[in-house]
């Protein structure tokens, strides 16, 4: 674990020494801790991780073309092993008042704005502290008041493996001024089969009336470990829509922590995960209604096959004075095999009396009458099962804004289901 802390380069960062200090105070979570009850760190700790090396030259533009999603128009940022690679990035034209670029560069510049916002929102955890202490680089997105980005920002994080297991620790800071609007597509992937870990931390602050659409595609390689810690602060009337697609990695944990700082804000968290043999998909959502009149939605769907495992831990806390809070949480799981397991734990903690809160979870199988309907039309049983799984996943996939991205994700989900079909009965 100590390998996750790389030395020295961030001495200019005031946050880093604190994080180093904090590391000694924070303990490794065990399954005795409620938030880690279903998720063991054992397989992660068995690896002797070293900080990811700079591998900016490992990828040429030809390789990049294989990664790019055809016809997706975007302001593109490419990170390799946590480091910003300007040669492969293509930011295109940005409107006045929009800054997108390397977080390290932004911190190193005299931008008071970046310095004052950095590390202000991230929730406290061992992995956040590790990220802060061993920070590689990441993306800073800063939009001034009322700046609107028409095309999405696309952040591609590529891991390049070495003989030794490596850890990359990207860090992203997104600050939208009042009334600003933008879409961010984050993609995590690898081109080789090496063992590696991504420990990403993302801080997002939305001004009044800001609208932020955040689409995340975790498609790491099958030997990867993936951690995301995402903190979101929303001012009055702001809208956040997060679509979390989890298909990759052998061990993956995503924590989303939302705080409403102003009234009439809306936070919509959507998710789709697919866990096959040897995979763990772990999601922790923590939404706090600290002020009145805010709306939150959590809607996560999972498909589990083989010996796949998933954890959904959704928590909504409504503070005493947060009247007229509107919170709905659902988690639906489709089990395709006997050996798969899901632990789903929705929690509502309501301290106000005039609220609308609901939660529901389901764990089910493909319904025989649906299967029969398709087969009675000449469709083979394996194809029928895949169609029904894709239909189930489709509700979340359709939340993605760009059609090309929806097609891309649907195709990958379809491929994964085909691959897993041998294990289906």
């Amino acid at each position: 674990m100590t390998g996750m802390i790389s030395n020295g380069f961030s001495h200019w960062l005031t946050a880093a020494p604190d994080a180093h200090k904090q590391l000694f105070e924070l303990e490794l979570p065990t399954t005795k801790a409620e938030a880690w009850r279903y998720t063991s760190l054992k397989s992660l700790l068995e690896q002797n991780f070293t900080p990811a090396e700079d591998a900016a030259n490992a990828i040429q533009s030809d390789d990049l073309n294989k990664i790019l999603i055809p016809d997706l128009m975007s302001h593109r940022v490419v990170l390799i092993n946590g480091r910003y690679v300007p040669e492969l990035s293509a930011l295109g034209d940005l409107p006045t008042g929009a800054q997108i670029g390397s977080l390290r560069a932004a911190l190193a510049s005299h931008s008071e704005m970046v310095r004052s916002q950095f590390n202000q929102y991230a929730f406290n955890s061992l992995f956040t502290a590790l990220n802060t202490a061993g920070l590689n680089d990441g993306v800073a997105v800063l939009l001034n008041r009322a700046v609107v980005l028409k095309n999405p920002i696309e952040l591609i994080h590529i891991s390049i493996g070495a003989n030794q297991p490596q850890v990359a620790q990207p860090r992203h800071l997104i600050v939208l001024g009042d009334g600003a609007r933008a879409t961010l597509i984050e993609r995590y992937l690898s081109l080789d089969a090496a063992i590696y870990c991504t420990n990403a931390v993302i801080e997002i602050a939305l001004g009044r009336d800001a609208v932020f659409r955040h689409e995340r595609l975790q498609m790491e390689s099958e030997n990867a470990f993936h951690l995301t810690g995402l903190s979101l602060k929303q001012n009055a009337n702001s809208h956040y829509l997060g679509v979390n697609i989890g298909l990759g990695a052998r061990w993956s944990r995503t924590e989303l922590v939302t705080n409403f700082a102003g009234e009439h804000a809306e936070c919509d968290l959507q998710g789709l995960y697919l866990a096959g043999d040897g995979q763990l998909m772990d999601y922790h959502l923590d939404v706090t209604h600290a002020v009145p009149n805010c709306t939150s939605r959590e809607n996560f769907r999972g498909i589990l096959c083989g010996k796949g495992r998933a954890v959904f831990d959704g928590r909504v806390l409504v503070a005493k004075n947060a009247q007229k809070s509107d919170a709905a949480m659902s988690n639906n799981n489709l089990m395709l095999s006997e050996g798969a397991e899901v632990d789903t734990k929705p929690q509502l903690e309501i301290n106000a009396d005039d609220v609308k809160c609901s939660h529901g979870t389901t764990v089910g199988q493909i319904e025989p009458e649906k299967l029969f309907y398709l087969r009675s039309r000449g469709i083979s049983a394996p194809l029928a099962r895949r169609m029904l799984c894709l239909g189930f996943a489709g509700e979340i996939i359709h939340m993605l804004h760009e059609e090309v991205l929806r097609d891309y994700v649907a195709e990958h989900v379809g491929q994964r289901l085909e691959f897993s079909a041998t294990g289906l009965s």
């Binding site: 025989p368 029969f372 087969r375 009675s376 000449g378 469709i379 049983a381 169609m387 239909g391 189930f392």
Partner: protein, 251 residues
């Protein structure tokens, strides 16, 4: 085309079909009528291969092939079609995708080339007209949020597209008002041909005013107790199922 001989079937331990015999020749329409619980729907399900039924005796052959050992999709690929009494909603499964997968699965099984997107769309628009259905249907999920009438029309629309040799209509009239019934019946009649046979399963004579059968069989307690021409349906309508029951027992 279809020969059913001494067919017996159970649901669990309970025997529902108690030895059925009938033959449907090419181009014929057979109506199967009977009160609730007589085994009408069970017959439709057993012929189309739905799980949950055990055939204990008898045979059903379709163009010389033993139907009962085949998977549901194999039966469909041979040209059997079931219009469901309760069409199943498939949220998230796009109608166009579904129709294309069905048509191409059937074509492939017959060694025919799959239809490309353009030819498929042309074909589908032609078939939509038969059922007076709107293009927007194609963008929706299969049956999801459809009204009762829309669901039944969608069934017949699928039948028009898949062009089966034998269609079994399971209580297609249930839940339809008179206007919807007429549209559905018109659709069915447009698909009548000398090569296509149909089995129309219904509780009421009403549907048979619109889809005129060649033969009517009355099913009660798992057996065909009367067979006749279309006039049998009218007689049944007039006298009610009680009459048949009494007659059946007297006979």
């Amino acid at each position: 085309m279809l020969v059913v001989n001494g067919l017996r079937a159970n649901v669990g331990e309970k025997e529902i079909l108690k030895g059925l015999n009938f033959t449907v020749a090419a181009g014929e329409i057979h109506a199967i009528m009977g009160p609730n619980g007589s085994g009408k729907s069970t017959l439709a399900h057993v012929l189309s291969g739905r799980e949950g039924y055990t055939v204990t005796a008898g045979t059903a052959t379709f163009n010389g092939q033993n139907l009962l050992t085949l998977e549901p999709e194999q039966r469909a690929q041979l040209g059997l079609f079931l219009a469901f009494q309760y069409p199943v909603e498939l949220p998230g499964v796009n109608n166009t995708y579904f129709l294309k997968a069905a048509l191409n699965s059937i074509r492939k099984s017959r060694g025919e080339a799959e239809l490309d997107a353009v030819s498929f769309l042309r074909l589908i628009k032609e078939k939509l007209k038969i059922l007076h259905l709107d293009d927007s249907l194609l963008k929706r999920a299969v049956n999801a949020g459809f009204s009762g009438g829309e669901k039944k029309r969608n069934e017949i629309f699928q039948m028009a597209l898949l062009e089966p040799k034998l269609a079994i209509l399971d209580e297609t009239d249930s839940g339809l008002d008179i206007d919807a019934l007429r549209v559905v019946a018109d659709g069915v009649n447009a698909l009548r041909s000398s090569e296509r046979s149909m089995i129309v399963v219904t509780h009421y004579q009403r549907l048979l005013d619109y889809i005129q059968p060649d033969y009517v069989h009355v099913l009660a307690k798992g057996q065909i107790i009367r067979s006749g021409g279309k006039e049998l349906a009218l007689e049944l309508e007039e006298k009610g199922y009680g009459w048949i029951d009494a007659e059946g027992q007297a006979a």
